[in-house]
Amino acid sequence: MRKHKGLMIISILVFAFLFIPLIIIAVTAFGSEATITFPIHGFSLQWFVNVFESESFMSSLLLSGEIALLATLLALLVGVPAAYALARYSVVGKKLLKSFFLSPTIIPGIVVGYALYQYLVLSLGFPVFESLLLGHFLVVLPYVIRIVGSSLDQFDFAIEEAALSLGCQKGQAFFKVVLPNITSGISAAFMLSFINSFNNIPVSMFLTGPGVTTLPTTLMNYIEYNYDPTVSAVSVLLMLATIVIMFIVEKTLGISALAK
């Protein structure tokens, strides 16, 4: 391939723009001063200790994990059959349905959060935890439908027909021959949904209550009153977790599958 100098310089600048803030945050997490400073003047792991000792960080971490897991499982339960139906059958208004399922990615999260808060929590008196779960479910569902959908688009449905001809009933055929061949799509959908829910702020910001605060919301609140590197430490931990998950996605399916 021909090397293009100008293009290379622009690429380097863009990457620098993207990564330098992250690197600075990561470095500040190891600083010894009580405020976020860069460059750091001493090395310390106390902010990481701080994270693990903080009651509010740990409980909101647990909650975030719980919500992300439940919302993702729920979205898989609904999204996989939906993606299957969209890929397999010529449903009337298929395009409309597809865009409907993707609409939560188009509507700003903050609107979804506010709407859910207004109607579920205030008007209907729904408990905050369930409302939060529902909100996250809505946010991650489009990811599931899209990723599992792209997996199904590459699936040869003659395989399912072959199973039928060999004596399988429809439902059986789905579990015996369709599902085992879209597992990579499902695991990618699972991980991406999980990350999305776990990192979500706009929806979670509204749907919060006593004992029901997700980690990103806790972080935001924390920054308002404190400016110590604990936040940086949390960020480093979250980045690490995300990198690990993306690494697994890449190894099982390839990052390209997420871009479709």
Binding site: D156, A158, I159, E161, A162, A163, L164, S165, L166, G167, C168, Q169, V177, P180, N181
Partner: protein, 345 residues
Amino acid sequence: MAFLSLKDIAVAYHQKNYILQGLNLDIEKGELVSLLGPSGCGKTTTLRVVAGFIDPQEGNFILDGEDMTKVPVHKRNFGLVFQSYALFPHLTVKENIAFGLKMRKMDKAQMEEKINEVVEVCDLKGLTDRLPKQLSGGQRQRVALARALVIEPKLLLLDEPLSNLDAKLRIQMRVEIKRLQKKLGITTIFVTHDQEECFSISDKVAVMNNGVIEQYDTPENIYSRPKTEFVARFIGFENFFDLTKVEEHQYKNQNGDIVKVDNDDDLQTCKGTIRPDDIEIVTSADKYENLISGEVTVRTFLGKSYQYEVDTSIGKLVVSSSSEEVYKQGDSIQMYLPANKIVLV
């Protein structure tokens, strides 16, 4: 009554676009019947009606005296081979073959015996532990066949099974399929758009066009006596000219010249047709009937012969000639249309 019989089958999408209309087909036990036609003619739809993937709006499908029209796919017990083979990618060759037997809850020992049998017949020894992606096209084809045959189906349905193979393998596999089919005596429907493949393998051929069967006959008869212009064109007839009957075996062309025809179908006005290979270019006047002269407009070299497009008083004729004499554009030539090679449609 025939072993398999499709009666007045109609299939339409959105209640109006007919894909099949009033389709009738009878197949005897143990026959291999091909559905031949261009893409979009309804041959695959017909196969899918038989397989049970499509519910026809009208008509019945009778097999061995039993009305199968409403029987769901998984209860029909037909073996299917798809164009893409549709092997289960996550299962080994052996598990693929065992799939249908497991669905039938067959006991282990008997299953093992059946699998070994079909592995032997389909020449798959040593491949049983491989996954489909570790196999070549021909091997996949044989696994698909084995998987369909092991359930001892009442019917074997093949949907363009050879079109993904290279030319050499295709010929080898079609002989193989024919051999297996005759050995097991299994009634088979074979869908293809390739006439050579179809003629070589079939007991009978149904040539389809626009959702109807244009002609249903033995390969030999279809080759030499096509009944309609569509069938004639599809199997390689290229020259068509209008004829009017004068008397038995004598027809008049549009110039009023007499054309003798051996195969008289008792049609008053019709078209005569002849293959490019069957027209002879004559130099000395040793023939006195069915002669026509014209001017060469295009010459194409086909390897073993030349093909000429010739302008004549009854229209353009295409002639293939392997003779020593080569004509060029603008030459006038005399052509002889043998009376026994002209077919009326």
